[in-house]
């Protein structure tokens, strides 16, 4: 029999319903694996007691024939989602001891669907990073290794702990968030599936805010079907988030397996970067061939403002972050550093000690671009370019149903690499950021290995609120790729 930690969510759901396994056995197997592989540093907080209590309740429900959609499924929650009574740190010293008195809407929905809480996963501090090396709780280690090498690689970021935990089989699925690629890039780096849904699909209430006009929650899982199962439960209108969309939530799982016959797939020429790794280019071409074989038609499209997406993002996101992070003042919650002096001294000492280097850089950039005399030149200019980027997509989606691109410009890199200057790190998100600026759904699906044996992902982008087409295309790629490589470090 398959080890409990190797099951997909769909398989675990069937095994629980058939009573071939109990929620308790599932929870215990995962807790043991988390303990054994704790050197990956995927979790900041493990909630073993809570997991066992949730599992007992799930087993009781299943026995009574009252199982809910995720009854007994053990999940991990990115430590950016507030969880009532469970420490929530955003991987920052400034929130290091914060215990929320309330639950985020997305996690509350998962518990209401019967999921079991394993704990809170590591991330880049305040979700700012592409390597999970900015966490105040230490780096997360990618469970994958380059062939013949023992160097620790990054899992990507910011949802690096969630991606590593899913890949190493330390949970069946995890929540994540994506502001500029923080779900899709780590998914690509760890051979997992990650979807950022349409802006407004999941409530942002109770998620520690980074850049409110870009932040969106989504799941990371091991299959497209599992991602669809989780997203359905995470989605839905929430009056507590005014940007949460009051639209019906489709049965995303039903879209998986519908096939792509007759779908029009766009291939944007601007995503072909100078000096792009030949392997990425080859994988992209392979993806195009798979979709053509499955009955889709392929169309060259143009998204002319693509190259301006990253610099636009690095004005908009820091500007919103500088405003959102103003709340960490050492007065109402979190760290306080009081070295004497007045209230301004307390603010400055607290924030100087509480924020890490990358967060501090972004707050300062954001403060500058919003400051008097520069607001028009930077912030308003970026918002105008953002409009043009969205217009590019609207134009493209008149003639295609989905867009296929690489997920990342490279495979996972070693911890310490690409850290000489911030801009090099920012380039990781070159393919993912445009979807955040335009508010569109995007998924990363593992599609192959590079020469070193590391996973590479393809990205599928769709129209606003058309995650179903995104899932259809991703499932076709998944079926054609038959990606069955496993990370070197994993449970069972």
């Amino acid at each position: 029999m398959t080890a409990p930690t190797d099951l997909t969510i769909a398989e675990a759901r069937a095994a629980l319903a058939a009573k071939r396994i109990s929620a308790r056995e599932l929870a215990e197997a995962h807790l043991a694996a988390i303990e054994r592989l704790k050197d990956l540093n995927a979790y900041i907080t493990v909630t073993a007691e809570r997991a066992l209590a949730d599992a007992a309740a799930a087993d009781a429900r299943i026995a009574r024939g009252e199982a809910r959609p995720l009854e007994g499924i053990p999940l991990a929650i990115k430590d950016l989602f507030c969880t009532e009574g469970i420490r929530t740190t955003a991987a920052s010293r400034i929130l290091g001891t914060f215990v929320p008195p309330y639950e985020s809407t997305v996690s509350a929905r998962l518990w209401a669907a019967g999921a079991v809480c394993l704990g809170k996963t590591n991330l880049d501090e305040f979700a700012m990073g592409s390597s999970n090396t900015t966490s105040a709780f230490g780096n997360v280690v990618n469970p994958w290794r380059r062939r013949g090498e023992n160097r620790d690689l990054v899992p990507g970021g910011s949802s690096g702990g969630s991606a590593a935990a899913v890949a190493a089989r330390l949970c069946l699925g995890a929540t994540a968030t994506d502001t500029g690629g923080s779900i899709r890039q780590p998914a690509a780096f760890t051979g997992t599936v990650g979807i950022k849904p349409t802006y407004g699909r999941c409530s942002r209430w109770g998620i520690v805010a980074f850049a409110s006009s870009l932040d969106q929650a989504g799941p990371i899982a091991r299959t497209v079907r599992d991602a669809a199962i989780l997203l359905r439960e995470m989605s839905g209108h929430d009056p507590k988030d005014s940007t949460s969309a009051d639209v019906p939530v489709p049965d995303f799982e039903a879209a998986v397996g519908l096939g792509v016959k007759g779908l029009r797939i766009g291939v944007p020429k601007e995503y072909r970067l100078d000096g792009m790794a030949p392997e990425i280019e080859a994988l992209w071409r392979q993806g195009i061939a798979w979709l053509k074989d499955a009955g889709a038609t392929i169309h060259d499209i143009s998204l002319p403002h693509t190259r301006y997406a990253l610099p636009t993002y690095y004005i908009v996101a820091p500007a919103e972050a500088s405003s959102n992070l103003a709340r960490y003042d050492g007065v109402r919650y979190g760290l306080r550093v009081d070295e004497g002096g007045d209230l301004d001294d307390l603010y400055e000492a607290t924030r100087g000690a509480g924020f890490g280097a990358e967060v501090r850089r972004r707050i300062l950039i954001g403060t500058y671009v919003l400051s008097a005399g520069y607001y028009d030149a930077y912030y308003l200019k970026a918002q105008r370019v953002r409009a043009l980027i969205q217009r590019d997509f609207d134009e493209a989606f008149r003639s295609v149903d989905a867009i296929l691109t690489p997920a990342t410009p490279s495979s996972a890199f070693a911890i310490g690499e690409k850290q000489d200057d911030p801009v090099t790190m920012y380039l990781n998100d070159v393919f993912t950021v445009p979807a955040n600026l335009a508010g569109l759904p995007g998924i990363s699906v593992p599609a192959g290995l590079d020469a070193a044996g590391l996973p590479l992902g393809l990205q599928v982008l769709g129209r606003a609120f058309d995650e179903e087409t995104v899932f259809r295309v991703a499932a076709a790629i998944e079926a054609a790729a038959a990606f069955d490589a496993l990370p070197q470090v994993r449970a069972a």
């Binding site: 006009s213 940007t243 403002h305 301006y308 109402r332 000492a349 501090r360 300062l364 930077y378 569109l440």
Partner: protein, 99 residues
Amino acid sequence: MSLDAETVRRIAALARIRVKEEEVARLQGELNHILAWIEQLAEVDTDGVEPLPGAMRMKLKMREDVVTEGDLHEAILANAPDRADNALGSFFAVPKVVE
């Protein structure tokens, strides 16, 4: 536009983040590098383009203007780094602001 050291200090003060004097030069270099890279937006023709503040594609909903919660003093104060409880009630405590 290039930031001088004084501007870095001023931004840090606006952001209420203490920056040590020996960190100013390095931050100045990093911030200028990022800003120089961002400058490329200047070449985009945005004449007549309305700024897009967010990706929300539908109108924001209005809710009823009614009280939805309250009486949460203890929950609100639960994470306070310092608090003061006296005859007037329970409060967040901060260094003296008014002499």
